[in-house]
C-alpha cells in the first residue's frame, strides 16, 4: 500500500466500546482531529467478532484497518476478543490498540502477552483525551505502513 493509496482510500476503524458516552467522546475527538475515516462502533465482544467475521447483521461490514478495543465489555470481554483476533490467521494482522480506562499492570502485561499492538489508558481530561486520539490516528493511519486488506 502506498501513501497515495492511503490518501485516497477510506480508512475503516472498529471501536469496540460498551459505554456510549465514551464512544461518542472518541467520535468527537476524531472529528476534532479532522480525520477522514469511518468509525464503526460495536458494544460488546460478541458483536465485535461478528463484525470481524462479517456474520449476521454485519454481513456487509468492511474489514477494519485498525481496532480500538476496550477491555471490560459485557458478554465476551476485550481480552477474549484480543485473543481470538490474534490467534485467527485471517485477522491477526489487523492492529489492535487497547484503549481502556484500566491502568492495572496485569491488564497491560496480559494485553501485550496476547499480542496487542498498543495499550493506551484514556486520560480524564478532555484535552489530553483529544490529543491522544489524534495521536493514535496520526500514528496508525499516517505513520505506519499497514498490511493490505
Amino acid at each position: 500500500m502506498s501513501t497515495t493509496d492511503k490518501e485516497c482510500r477510506q480508512i475503516e476503524i472498529l471501536l469496540i466500546e460498551d459505554n456510549p458516552g465514551d464512544a461518542r467522546l472518541t467520535q468527537e475527538a476524531m472529528r476534532a482531529a479532522k480525520m477522514t475515516n469511518v468509525l464503526h462502533v460495536v458494544e460488546d465482544g460478541v458483536q465485535a467478532m461478528e463484525f470481524l467475521r462479517q456474520r449476521s447483521r454485519f454481513k456487509d461490514a468492511p474489514r477494519p484497518d485498525l481496532i480500538l478495543l476496550d477491555l471490560n465489555l459485557p458478554k465476551k470481554d476485550g481480552r477474549a476478543v484480543l485473543s481470538e483476533v490474534k490467534t485467527d490467521p485471517d485477522l491477526r494482522r489487523i492492529p489492535v490498540v487497547v484503549l481502556t480506562t484500566s491502568r492495572s499492570e496485569e491488564d497491560v502485561m496480559q494485553a501485550y502477552d496476547m499480542h496487542a499492538n498498543a495499550y493506551v489508558t484514556k486520560p480524564v481530561k478532555l484535552d489530553q483525551f483529544l490529543r491522544i486520539v489524534a495521536l493514535i490516528d496520526e500514528f496508525w493511519l499516517k505513520v505506519v505502513t499497514l498490511p493490505g486488506r
Binding site: N19, G21, L25, N72, T101, R103, V124, K125, L126, F129
Partner: protein, 561 residues
C-alpha cells in the same frame, strides 16, 4: 555359717582323734619293742634291754612330739582355711553370739563400718546399722525361723557413708544342737539400688513427659493381637478404666468407618518400613469424636514376620481444630485479599470511567459553548472538573494504598543505599527545582520489599521538600543500629510538625494544610506507615534541632541467606 562352724568343729575333733591315735601308736610301739626283748634274752641282755628301753622311750617321745606338731599345724591350717573362706567374700560377713555380740567379722565388714575387727568383736551388732531396731528384729527372726533371706538393712560407716545391704543369715549350733549364734552374710546392693533408683528416675521423667504430652503408650503383640497399654492410652479412646481386651482389631472398631482403611494402610506401611504413623478419628463410648495421632516401631520379629510393635498415641483434636481454624482464617484472608485486588481493579477502572464522563463532557460543553459562557458559569464548570479530578487522585491514592499489601513482594536483602538512590533519581526534578541538598550517610543492608523501600524514601523525601517551600531544603538521611533492627531517619529543615498533630499525620487523607498552602491528598505518609507495618517496623516523627521534622522508621536487620 552353720556349715562353716561345723567344719571347724569337725576339723578340731579330727585333730584330737589323730593326736590320741598317734599317742596310742607310740605306746604300742614301745610295748612291742619291750615284749620282743623280753621274749628272747631276758636275763642276758638286761643291760642292753635297759639301754634299748631308754632308746625306745626316746623314739616314742620323738614320734609323739612330731604328732603333736602336726596336729597344731593342721589346727592352724583349719583356722586359716576358715578365715580365708571368710575373707574370700567381698560381702560383709559376721558372726553374732546368742547374746547379740559380734564374735567375728571379715575385712569387708571392717571396710563397711570403718572399724577394726578387734573393735567390732564383743560389741552390739545392731549399733552399726542405720536402723538398729530393724537389725534386732531381723536377728530375732533368724532365731525364730533359723534363717532369713534378703533382709534389707543399711550399714553406717564411721564417715557417715551408708552401704545398702541385703542380709542372708542363719543360726549355727554346737554338736548338741544348741544355738551358739548367728552367721550373717550381707550383700552390698548400693550399686543395684543406684541402678534401680536411676531406672526409677528415668521412668518417672519419661512418665512425666508422657503425662504432660498427654501421650499414651501401647505395646502390641501382632501375632496374638493383644496389647499392653498405659492408662492414658485407654483414656484417649474414652475409657477411664482399662478395657480387658485390646488389640489392632478392637482399636479399628473404635475408629470412624472412613478412617479404618487408612489405619490398615498404616499397618501395611509399618510392616514394610518398620515405622508406624497414622492420624485418624476415634469414636469414644460417649459418641464424641476425637482426632488421634499414633506413632510406633516394629520392635520384634518372629520367623521374619513382624511380631511386636511399640508406640505412643496422642489426642490431637485441639491441634486439629486449631489448624483447621487457621486454615479457615487463611482462606478468609486469601479471599479478602482477592476481594481487595478486585476492589483495586474496580478503583482503577470502573470508578474512573464515570469521572472521565463528567470531566470530558463538562469540558466538551465548555469548548462548544466557549463564546456563550459567562464568568460564573465557567467558574462552576471549573469546580465540577476540579472536584472530579480530585476524586480521581483519591481513587489512585486508595489504589496505591491497597497495593502495599496486594502487590507486596517477599522481604529480601536490600541495599537501602541503592533504594534511596533510586528514590532520589525519581525525585530528580523536584530536587533540582527546590535546590534541595540531600546528605546521605552510610546505609545498611536490610530485610525489605525493595520497591516499597524505594517508595518509602520517595514519599518521605518529597514530603520534606514540599514542606520547605520558602527555603532550600537540607535533608539528611542516616541509619543507626538498634537491638536487632535499624532505625532510619530523614531529617529536614522545613516547617516541622507541632506535637499535637503528629498522631493524625499517618492517617489516610488526613491533611494539616489547605490545598492552597501545600497541595496533596494526604496519602503519602499513610502509605509509608502501611509499608513499615508490613515490614514489622515502626514509624514516627520527632522535631529536628532547627525546627524541622525528623521522620524515622525501623526495619529488621538482614538475616538468613
Amino acid at each position: 555359717m552353720q556349715d562353716f562352724r561345723a567344719a571347724i568343729d569337725e576339723a578340731e575333733r579330727a585333730q584330737d582323734a589323730r593326736l590320741r591315735q598317734t599317742k596310742l601308736q607310740a605306746q604300742d610301739a614301745a610295748r612291742f619293742t619291750y615284749a620282743t626283748i623280753s621274749g628272747g634274752m631276758v636275763l642276758s641282755l638286761v643291760f642292753l634291754a635297759a639301754a634299748l628301753l631308754w632308746l625306745n622311750h626316746a623314739e616314742a617321745e620323738r614320734i609323739r612330739t612330731q604328732a603333736e606338731l602336726e596336729i597344731t599345724q593342721r589346727a592352724k591350717a583349719a583356722g586359716l582355711y576358715a578365715r580365708s573362706l571368710l575373707e574370700a567374700s567381698l560381702d560383709p560377713l559376721l558372726t553374732i553370739s546368742a547374746e547379740g555380740k559380734i564374735t567375728d567379722v571379715n575385712i569387708a565388714t571392717e571396710q563397711a563400718t570403718g572399724l577394726a575387727r578387734a573393735d567390732l568383736i564383743g560389741t552390739d551388732f545392731a549399733s552399726y546399722f542405720t536402723d538398729p531396731d530393724q537389725a534386732r528384729e531381723g536377728y530375732q527372726r533368724v532365731f525364730a525361723k533359723s534363717f532369713v533371706t534378703d533382709y534389707p538393712l543399711a550399714i553406717r560407716h564411721t564417715s557417715g557413708r551408708i552401704t545398702d545391704v541385703l542380709y542372708n543369715a542363719s543360726v549355727y549350733r554346737d554338736e548338741a544342737g544348741k544355738v551358739l549364734g548367728v552367721f550373717a552374710a550381707a550383700r552390698d546392693v548400693t550399686e543395684r539400688k543406684k541402678a534401680e533408683e536411676s531406672l526409677r528416675l528415668t521412668e518417672q521423667r519419661l512418665n512425666l513427659g508422657l503425662e504432660f504430652a498427654e501421650m499414651g503408650v501401647w505395646d502390641l503383640d501382632l501375632i496374638h493381637d493383644t496389647a499392653w497399654r498405659s492408662l492414658q492410652h485407654d483414656r484417649i479412646f474414652g475409657y477411664e478404666s482399662a478395657p480387658a481386651q485390646w488389640g489392632r482389631e478392637i482399636a479399628t472398631r473404635h475408629l470412624v468407618p472412613e478412617d479404618r482403611e487408612g489405619f490398615a494402610h498404616a499397618f501395611e506401611e509399618a510392616f514394610r518400613s518398620g515405622e508406624f504413623f497414622v492420624e485418624c478419628r476415634v469414636i469414644r463410648p460417649d459418641q464424641s469424636i476425637h482426632w488421634i495421632q499414633a506413632q510406633g516401631k516394629v520392635i520384634g520379629y518372629e520367623a521374619g514376620r513382624p511380631a511386636r510393635m511399640l508406640g505412643t498415641v496422642a489426642d490431637i483434636t485441639s491441634q486439629r481444630q486449631a489448624s483447621e481454624a487457621l486454615e479457615t482464617l487463611s482462606r478468609a484472608l486469601a479471599r479478602s485479599n482477592t476481594e481487595l485486588e478486585q476492589f483495586a481493579y474496580v478503583a482503577s477502572h470502573d470508578l474512573q470511567e464515570p469521572l472521565r464522563m463528567v470531566v470530558g463532557y463538562v469540558q466538551l460543553l465548555e469548548k462548544r459553548l466557549a463564546d456563550k459562557l459567562d464568568t460564573d458559569t465557567r467558574e462552576f464548570m471549573a469546580f465540577a472538573v476540579d472536584g472530579a479530578m480530585r476524586m480521581q487522585v483519591m481513587i489512585d491514592d486508595i489504589l496505591a494504598y491497597s497495593r502495599v499489601t496486594t502487590k507486596a513482594q517477599p522481604l529480601a536483602r536490600v541495599d537501602s543505599a541503592a533504594a534511596l538512590q533510586q528514590a532520589l533519581d525519581r525525585l530528580a526534578s523536584p530536587i533540582k527545582e527546590s535546590g534541595a541538598e540531600v546528605d546521605v550517610q552510610p546505609l545498611p543492608t536490610v530485610m525489605a520489599d525493595r520497591l516499597q523501600l524505594v517508595q518509602l524514601f520517595q514519599n518521605l523525601i518529597s514530603n520534606s521538600i514540599k514542606f520547605c517551600k520558602d527555603r532550600a531544603p537540607r535533608i539528611r538521611v542516616e541509619a543507626v543500629r538498634e537491638a536487632g533492627r535499624w532505625r532510619f531517619s530523614v531529617a529536614d529543615n522545613g516547617i516541622g510538625i507541632a506535637p499535637e498533630y503528629r498522631a493524625q499525620l499517618f492517617v489516610i487523607f488526613k491533611r494539616l494544610h489547605t490545598q492552597r498552602e501545600y497541595p496533596g491528598s494526604g496519602i503519602g505518609l499513610a502509605i509509608c506507615k502501611r509499608i513499615i507495618e508490613r515490614h514489622g517496623g515502626e514509624i514516627g516523627i520527632d522535631s529536628a534541632a532547627g525546627g524541622g521534622a525528623v521522620f524515622w522508621f525501623t526495619l529488621p536487620e538482614e538475616h538468613g541467606p
